[in-house]
C-alpha cells in the first residue's frame, strides 16, 4: 500500500484491504431470531398505533411485530409488503428515528422505542431469503402502462399495476433499475447487492418489463408514450444538482455528492475509489451525511460538513448527525461558501439568522479541501412540455394526477413529497391505484 489517509490529493487505496470490508459492512447488523423475539416482545400492540400513522406507507406495524413475536415472520413480511413492496429497503434506509420510532409510545415514555426498522428487516429478509413472492397477478386487463424511472416510486407503481393485471414497461435512463436505491444511499445501509436482489424479487410478480438506458427527452417522448400506452407514470427523480454559486466551483475537485455516492455504490473495488485527504461536504441533508461518512470510511483524514443554517435546521436527523460525528466527521453550521480557492482551500463566511433572513456576518474562515462535495439539493430537469409545475416540481393532486390527462407522477420529481424512499413508495402505490381505477373505469 503506497497511499495513506495522509497522502495529499484525491487518491485511491488509503486503507488496508480489510478496512474497506470492515468499514462498509452492515451499518446495523440484522437481528437474529432470538433478538427479534425479544425486540418484538417490547411492542404493546397499541390501539390506533402512532407508529402506523407516522409511516408514510401506513404499514400495520403492531400487527407485523406481533406476527414476529408469535413465530410467523413470513406473515409479518406479508403485512409489510401489502403496504410497501420495498419494505426491505425501507427497513434499511428509512429515518425511523423521525418516523415510526420517534412516535413509538416507548420512545415517548422511556426514550427507547421498539426497534421497528430492524424488526421490519428481520421479517422481510426472512421471506425474501426463501425466494417467496407473496402476491399473484389479477386477471389480465389488456391495459398497458409506461413507467418512466425505475426508482422506488416507479417500482412501487409498476408492482401494484402488474398485480392489478396491467402490463407495465419501466424505462430508466441508467444502466440498472433501482434509482437511488441502487445509485444513492450509503453503501453500508444496503450491503450485499440488496437493491438489485430486491428489484429481482419484486419483478417475480410478472407483467413488468424493464428497459434500461432509455431516457425521457433523449430516447423517449412523453407524447409518444401517451400514444402507445393507456397511462403514463413519471418517476424521473431529480437529475439536476444545485450550484454553490461561488467562484471556483468549476474546478475539477468540486463535484456533486450524488455523483460521488453513485460511483461508490457501483464500485466493485472500493480500494480503487479515489477520495481526498481533506474533504469538505457542503449541505445539511442525508446526502451530505452519506457522502461525508463514506469519505471517512474510504480513508479521508478529515471530513467536514458545512451547513449554512443552524444544526436544528439540518434535514439530516439527529441520529444521522450523531452517526456522522461518531464516524469522525466534523459538522460546522452557520457557514456559507464564499469561494473555492486555487490554494486547495474553501473560504466560508459565517452566517446569522436575522429578521430579514439568513445573512453573512462578514467574518470568514478557510478549510483545507482537496475534495469538495456539493450536497445542497437536487433539481428537476428535463420536464416534458405541457406539465404544470409547482415549486420546481411536477404538480400533482393527492392521487398523483398531473395537469396532463393520462399522466401521473410520483417520487422526488413530484411536488409534495419528502424526498424519502418511503414516501416515493407510497406515492407510486397510490398513483397505481388511481391509474387502475381510471383504466378499469371504476
Amino acid at each position: 500500500m503506497t497511499n495513506s489517509p495522509l497522502t495529499p490529493g484525491v487518491v485511491p487505496g488509503r486503507l488496508p484491504a480489510q478496512a474497506y470490508h470492515d468499514n462498509f459492512t452492515d451499518h446495523e447488523p440484522p437481528l437474529d431470531g432470538h433478538e427479534a423475539r425479544v425486540a418484538a416482545d417490547r411492542c404493546y400492540f397499541c390501539h390506533d398505533a402512532p407508529c402506523m400513522t407516522a409511516c408514510p406507507t401506513s404499514i400495520d406495524i403492531p400487527l407485523f411485530i406481533r406476527q414476529i413475536a408469535t413465530g410467523t415472520p413470513e406473515a409479518a413480511a406479508k403485512t409489510i409488503f401489502a403496504q410497501n413492496i420495498l419494505g426491505g429497503m425501507c427497513a434499511r434506509v428509512c429515518p425511523t428515528e423521525t418516523l415510526c420510532e420517534e412516535v413509538c409510545v416507548r420512545e415517548v415514555a422511556e426514550g427507547k422505542p421498539v426497534e421497528i426498522g430492524r424488526l421490519q428487516r428481520f421479517a422481510t429478509d426472512t421471506l425474501m431469503a426463501k425466494g417467496v413472492h407473496p402476491f399473484t397477478r389479477a386477471k389480465a386487463t389488456g391495459k398497458t402502462v409506461a413507467v418512466v424511472g425505475a426508482g422506488p416510486a416507479g417500482l412501487s407503481a409498476a408492482h401494484r399495476l402488474a398485480m392489478k393485471g396491467h402490463d407495465v414497461v419501466v424505462f430508466d435512463a441508467r444502466p440498472k433499475a433501482g434509482g437511488l436505491n441502487e445509485f444513492g444511499l450509503a453503501a453500508y445501509k444496503t450491503t450485499g447487492g440488496f437493491a438489485q436482489r430486491e428489484v429481482d424479487w419484486l419483478l417475480q410478480i410478472g407483467g413488468i418489463r424493464i428497459e434500461t438506458g432509455r431516457a425521457l427527452g433523449r430516447d423517449l417522448s412523453l407524447a409518444e408514450l401517451q400514444k402507445q400506452y393507456d397511462a403514463v407514470f413519471l418517476s424521473i427523480g431529480l437529475a439536476g444538482v444545485n450550484a454553490l454559486r461561488a467562484p471556483g466551483e468549476e474546478m475539477a475537485h468540486v463535484r456533486p455528492a450524488v455523483d460521488f455516492i453513485a460511483e461508490l455504490r457501483q464500485s466493485a473495488d472500493l480500494s480503487s475509489l479515489p477520495v481526498g485527504r481533506d474533504v469538505v461536504v457542503i449541505g445539511g441533508g442525508m446526502t451530505a451525511v452519506d457522502a461525508a461518512v463514506q469519505s471517512r470510511l474510504l480513508g479521508a483524514e478529515t471530513v467536514t460538513i458545512v451547513y449554512r443554517r443552524g444544526q436544528e435546521k439540518m434535514a439530516a436527523s439527529g441520529y444521522e448527525q450523531d452517526h456522522a460525528t461518531s464516524a469522525g466527521v466534523r459538522i460546522v453550521t452557520h457557514a456559507a461558501p464564499v469561494a473555492v480557492l486555487a490554494s486547495g482551500e474553501v473560504e466560508f463566511a459565517y452566517t446569522a439568522d436575522t429578521p430579514d433572513g439568513l445573512k453573512q456576518t462578514g467574518e470568514t474562515f478557510r478549510l483545507k479541501a482537496d475534495q469538495v462535495l456539493k450536497a445542497i439539493g437536487q433539481t428537476l430537469t428535463g420536464v416534458p412540455e405541457g406539465l404544470a409545475l409547482t415549486s420546481g416540481k411536477i404538480a400533482v393532486d393527492a392521487a398523483g394526477r398531473t395537469s396532463l390527462k393520462g399522466v401521473w407522477a410520483g417520487g422526488d420529481c413530484a411536488a409534495g413529497g419528502e424526498d424519502l424512499t418511503v414516501t416515493a413508495v407510497a406515492q407510486g402505490r397510490d398513483a397505481a391505484e388511481d391509474i387502475h381505477a381510471a383504466l378499469v373505469g371504476a
Binding site: 400492540f45 400487527l63 406481533r66 408469535t70 413465530g71 410467523t72 413470513e74 406473515a75 403485512t79
Partner: protein, 433 residues
C-alpha cells in the same frame, strides 16, 4: 392460503376463532366491533332469567398477575352474568345475527336449576335466529352461590338433567360449558354427553385469588376492604385447559364429542395446540381484553401460515392430530434414553444449568474453572431442567441415544419399547408361571 372455514356441530364460521361468553360479548356494540375485526363467531355473554337483572359490584371486577414489563399473564374476574335487561339482549342478538349471517352467534344461558326456567328462556331466545346455545355450568363466582354456574357444573347428575331439558325444549345445537373446578373433568363431560349435548366447551375460569393487598390485608380485587375468589383466565391457565381438553378427547366414553377449546388462547399457536388436542374450534376472551379485537388478525394469519407449512388445507386436518399421542404415564417407553448436550458456542456462561442441576437435580453438569459447562452422561437422567432454565434458545438440547447404544448412567444398552406395565419392578406384573 389454507381454508380456515370452520364447521362446528353444524355451526359455520369463516374461521375457528370465537369470542367466549364474557364481558367482550355483552352488547351489540362490542360484538359488531369484533365481527368487523374479523372474529369468526361470538358466544353472547350469559343471559339469565327474565326479571330484575343481576347487579354487579361497582368497585374493581378484575385482578391480574403480570410478568416483567407488565405483560398480562393471568386475569381474574368477579363479574356476574349480563346485568342488562333480557329483552334488550334478545333484541340486539337478533339484529346482529341478521346483519352478520356468515358469523357464528351462540347464546350463553344460566337460569335456575328447574325445568320451567330453562323451558322459558329457551322459548324466549327461539326467534333470535342464533346458531346455538351454550349452557354456562362454569362460572365459579357469585352465581355459584345461588346454585347456578359451577354449582351445577360440579354435579354431573345436574349437568345431565339440565342438558336433557335443553335438548327437549329446543332444537338448537347445545354446547355445555364445563368448569375446571372439579377433580376429574371427564365426569361432567360424560354427563353432558349422556344428556344429549352436541358439544362441550372448556375450560371456564378457575377459582382464584390473584394477590393480596399487604397494606389492607384483603384479596384483590378489593371491594371496600374485602375480596372474594374470582374466575382465573388468560395465558396462565392454558396448560390446565389443554390437559382437560385432551382428557375428554382421548377418553373412551367421550371420544368424538366435539370440543370448543377455551383457556388462555392468545396466539395462533395456542389455538393450534388446542385444536391438535381435539378442539374443533377455540374461544378467546383475555387476549381480546388485553390487546383489543384486532388481535384475531395474528391468529388468522398465523394459523393459516402454519397449516400451509404442514400442507393442511382445512382445519379438520389439524383437529385431533395430537390426540393419539396423549397417553398414560404407564405406557411411556422406559427404554427411550436421551442425554442433555450443551453447545459451547451458543453458551453464554451464565451457569443457570449448573445451579439447577447441582442444587436441585442430579449433579450431572460439570463446570470448568473458565466456566465451560458440560454434561456428565454417566449422571444425566435427561430430566430436561437444564433445557428449561437455559436463557439461550437451542443452547442445551436433548440427544436421543440410538438403539443399542450404552447408557453410561445405567451401563445398559438402549433396548426396544417397554413400559411400566411389563417392568420387573412393577409389583402388579405377574411373572409368567
Amino acid at each position: 392460503m389454507a381454508n380456515l372455514t370452520s364447521n362446528f356441530i353444524g355451526i359455520k364460521s369463516p374461521n375457528p376463532f370465537w369470542l367466549a361468553s364474557a364481558p367482550p360479548t355483552d352488547k351489540k356494540y362490542n360484538v359488531e366491533r369484533a365481527f368487523e375485526a374479523g372474529w369468526g363467531g361470538v358466544v353472547w355473554k350469559t343471559l339469565g332469567s327474565e326479571g330484575p337483572p343481576v347487579v354487579n359490584v361497582s368497585g374493581p371486577r378484575y385482578g391480574a398477575i403480570w410478568g416483567a414489563d407488565r405483560r398480562l399473564l393471568g386475569l381474574n374476574n368477579i363479574e356476574l352474568i349480563t346485568d342488562r335487561p333480557l329483552e334488550v339482549n334478545l333484541q340486539e342478538i337478533k339484529e346482529v345475527k341478521r346483519k352478520w349471517r356468515d358469523r357464528a352467534l351462540i347464546i350463553s344461558l344460566m337460569v335456575p336449576c328447574d325445568e320451567d326456567s330453562w323451558k322459558d328462556i329457551l322459548n324466549r331466545i327461539e326467534d333470535t335466529e342464533a346458531d346455538g346455545v351454550e349452557l354456562n355450568f362454569g362460572c365459579p363466582h357469585g352465581m355459584a352461590e345461588r346454585g347456578m354456574g359451577s354449582a351445577v357444573g360440579q354435579v354431573p347428575e345436574y349437568i345431565e338433567m339440565v342438558t336433557r331439558w335443553v335438548k327437549k325444549h329446543s332444537r338448537m345445537p347445545c354446547i355445555v360449558k364445563l368448569t375446571p373446578n372439579i377433580t376429574d373433568v371427564r365426569k361432567p363431560a360424560e354427563a353432558a354427553k349422556r344428556g344429549g349435548a352436541d358439544a362441550v366447551s372448556l375450560i371456564n375460569t378457575i377459582n382464584s385469588i390473584t394477590s393480596v393487598n399487604l397494606d389492607d390485608f384483603s384479596p384483590e380485587p378489593m371491594i371496600d376492604g374485602k375480596g372474594t375468589h374470582g374466575g382465573y383466565c388468560g395465558p396462565a391457565v392454558k396448560p390446565i385447559a389443554l390437559n382437560m381438553v385432551a382428557e375428554i378427547a382421548r377418553s373412551a366414553e367421550t371420544r368424538g364429542l366435539p370440543i370448543s377449546g377455551i383457556g388462555g388462547v392468545t396466539t395462533w399457536r395456542d389455538a393450534a395446540e388446542f385444536m391438535a388436542l381435539g378442539a374443533g374450534n377455540v374461544q378467546v376472551c383475555t387476549a381480546a381484553m388485553t390487546y383489543g379485537f384486532k388481535v384475531v388478525q395474528e391468529m388468522i394469519s398465523g394459523l393459516s401460515e402454519y397449516m400451509d407449512s404442514k400442507g393442511m388445507t382445512s382445519t379438520a386436518d389439524l383437529v385431533g392430530r395430537a390426540v393419539p399421542n396423549v397417553t398414560d404415564w404407564q405406557f411411556l417407553n422406559l427404554n427411550y434414553v436421551t442425554k442433555a448436550q450443551i453447545d459451547p458456542d451458543a453458551c453464554i456462561k451464565c451457569g443457570r444449568c449448573y445451579a439447577a442441576c447441582e442444587d436441585t437435580s442430579h449433579q450431572a453438569i460439570a463446570m470448568s474453572p473458565d466456566r465451560v459447562f458440560s454434561v456428565k452422561d454417566d449422571e444425566c437422567v435427561a430430566c430436561n431442567l437444564c433445557v428449561n432454565v437455559c436463557p439461550v434458545d437451542n443452547c442445551i438440547t436433548m440427544r436421543t441415544l440410538p438403539k443399542g447404544a450404552v447408557d453410561e448412567r445405567t451401563g445398559r444398552k438402549v433396548g426396544d419399547y417397554a413400559n411400566w406395565t411389563t417392568h420387573p419392578n412393577n409389583p402388579s406384573v405377574k411373572a409368567a408361571e
